[in-house]
């Protein structure tokens, strides 16, 4: 029996755990791998967003630029909160021993390359193990290698979760007064990318207990593969990389903004594959590429000895994130700034919390990581406050038995479909650029037909030969649910905005689509609704479209 159960051991989970633990409550943190080495945070290497006025950063310019880049889909209340709390979390991290290398002429930690945004460099793979130590110090009981499959909901409240250790079939019940989901986003296990353990488990579990999920139509175009074959987008040095993206027939690829869809458009026109022409690179640019690689992908250079100075024409793949959403724009809808969901007892933080603070587009590196830390901190406090006023929950056996049956079904099934095969079909259906990035009603509907079939006919017959495969089966089931949410939200938003591009609706449509989407379960059917953005947060509609939106989409 716990006061607070936290699911997921990335930066959000640790912040929630440390804050709740420091209040003296009985806190556990459960992770399906090893907390501190698990999820996207473990591999974060691009930066950490911090707003600190003492570094000469201009708050108004920062926010204004973020809203313009975000195509006015930003939740400004959250934007202001995360900016304010970014400094609190930064100071916490510094005090715990996390290092932020300083590398600029002004001798302030923020990298002037990203102005007006405040982004500090971090050391890849360093912060999370430090946070783990800090959580243990705060008295948090860490439970590793345990897959949580479902939330326990009774009498309208979430009272914990159930799961199993991935090394055995033992049932694990986590009774808790408050539960915090910090499970990250979803991708579809793209080949060779380090985000393959992010399968949208939190979004799926929360959906099943009746919460609303927002922003699923906004995909990430960033690179996550530690490989020269995945396009290098984002971060200092990206420009030097882009200069050598060339076409097989000759000529340079015109890359627009760092996270836009220009590479996908080239390929869509049949002009690919895009070749990274390292033979043509100048020594200065090779040096810039090396710096970028060292800051974001040092493991790759160390391990396979890839060096931008090696020459050659390297074909690159786009959409390395393959399903991952725009940071914190997709996720479970937080009801307030303490990160409670619409179901009492359930709190959400990190990438599975849809604060929508950056809007429809990634402004710069580090925004996901900081948003995750801040919501972790807030959900931690929120969960503590809630738990202090709750009695010990008594578990209803009927609820437990039904979830237990669901948990073990794949292991008990003698015949059916392997999770790896179903995952492969999901990948083939969802990852192609013409589904996830360059969308059209016809293709989205075709993909939805397949995904509905998968959910109706394959998922209920998933098999698992052992506890490792039981984890895969539950991940596959969750990915399939996330896939349907992505497709339905994408079909619903009949306009283009930020990282959501509809070939059949290539313009932003104000004010009809100055709204956030919400996906939820209605009597067993998935429905999508609109949530209006407050008018004071809209762009100035008296200005012509081209002035409101400096960035053009093809075909608009």
């Amino acid at each position: 029996m716990y006061d607070v159960a936290i699911i997921g051991g990335g930066i959000a989970g640790f912040f929630a755990a440390i804050k709740a633990g420091e209040k003296g409550l009985n806190v556990t943190l459960v992770d399906k791998a090893y907390a501190g080495k698990s999820g996207a945070s473990a591999f974060a290497g691009m930066g950490y967003m911090v707003y600190n006025p003492e570094w000469g950063l201009d708050r108004d310019a920062f926010l204004k630029e973020m809203y313009i880049k975000g195509d006015y889909l930003n939740n400004r209340e959250w934007a202001e909160i995360i900016l304010k709390d970014s400094l609190t979390t930064y100071r916490d991290l510094v005090s715990w021993g996390v290092e932020f290398p300083i590398e600029n002429v002004n001798n302030t930690p923020n990298d002037e390359y990203f102005l007006p945004f405040g982004v500090v460099r971090i050391k890849r793979r360093q912060p999370m193990p430090i946070l783990r130590k800090q959580a243990i110090k705060a008295g948090v009981k860490i439970i590793d290698r345990t897959m949580v499959t479902d939330l326990l909901k009774q009498d309208g409240k979430v009272v914990g979760a159930i799961g199993f250790p991935i090394t055995s079939y033992d049932l694990q019940i986590f009774k808790a007064k408050a539960t915090v989901l910090c499970t990250g986003y979803n991708s579809f296990k793209p080949s060779g990318a380090e985000i393959a353990s992010l399968t949208g488990d939190g979004d799926a579990m929360a959906y099943r207990v009746g919460t609303e999920i927002t922003g699923k139509e906004f995909p990430d175009t960033g690179n996550y593969g530690m490989t020269p074959y995945t396009s290098w987008r984002g971060g200092r040095g990206s420009r030097a990389v882009f200069r050598y993206y060339t076409l097989p027939e000759g000529g340079r690829v015109q890359v627009g903004d760092e996270q836009d869809l220009s590479l996908e458009f080239v390929v869509h026109a049949g002009k690919g594959p895009i070749l990274w022409d390292l033979d043509a690179a100048t020594p200065q640019d090779i040096e810039r590429m090396r710096k970028r690689q060292q800051s974001s992908d040092p493991m790759e250079s160390e391990r396979i000895g890839f060096d931008p100075g090696q020459g050659g024409k390297i074909p690159i793949a786009g959409g390395g994130a393959a399903g991952a959403p725009t940071a914190q724009t997709a996720g479970i809808w937080p009801m307030n700034t303490q990160c409670s969901s619409s179901v009492p007892g359930l709190y959400v933080a990190g990438e599975c919390c849809g604060t929508r603070y950056i809007g429809a587009y990634h402004p710069a590196p580090g925004f996901g990581l900081t948003g995750s830390a801040v919501t972790g901190l807030r959900a931690g406090f929120g969960a503590v406050e809630y738990a202090l006023h709750q009695k010990k929950p008594k578990l209803d056996n009927k609820v437990l038995e039904s979830l237990k049956t669901t948990l073990y079904e794949p292991a008990n099934r003698k015949s059916g479909f392997s999770p790896r095969w179903v995952t492969q079909i999901l990948q083939n259906t969802m990852i192609p650029y013409f589904i996830l990035h360059i969308k059209h009603e016809n293709r989205l509907k075709a993909a939805l037909t397949i995904v509905e079939f998968i959910r109706k006919n394959l998922v209920p017959k998933l098999t698992a030969k052992d506890s490792h495969e039981l984890r895969l089966a539950h991940e596959t089931k969750n990915m399939a649910l996330n896939a349907e949410m992505i497709l339905r939200a994408s079909l619903f938003r009949t306009e283009s905005r930020g990282q959501h591009y509809r070939e059949d609706f290539p313009r932003r449509d104000d004010p009809s689509w100055l709204v956030w989407t919400k996906v939820h379960d209605k009597g067993g059917a998935m429905t999508v609704t609109k949530e209006p953005i407050p008018e004071e947060w809209w762009p100035d509609l008296s200005k012509p479209y081209e002035e409101r939106y400096p960035k053009r989409f093809p075909g608009e």
């Binding site: 791998a33 080495k37 353990s197 490989t227 594959p273 493991m299 391990r303 074909p315 192609p432 490792h468």
Partner: protein, 72 residues
């Protein structure tokens, strides 16, 4: 392809590689108290096992378990 070998002679059984693997590819063998590559098909080539191995007993090949399709 993927994680190819763990050198049993060099391995000190510290279990760092098991904890570093977010995909549950490596498991400890109860009897030998040494790690074994149990689910190589789920390896994502992150190489966290290799990079943190204090005895340099692990080799991860950059070849993926399924190919990266570069032309989409």
């Amino acid at each position: 392809m993927v994680i190819e070998r763990i050198d049993e002679e060099l391995c000190n059984g510290c279990e760092i590689c098991v904890n570093n693997c977010t995909m549950d590819v490596i498991r400890m063998d109860e009897k030998s108290k040494k790690p074994v590559i149990k689910y190589p098909e789920d390896c994502i080539c992150c190489a966290c096992c290799e990079l943190d191995c204090p005895e340099e007993a692990i080799y991860v090949s950059p070849e993926r378990s399924s190919p990266v399709l570069v032309a989409w």
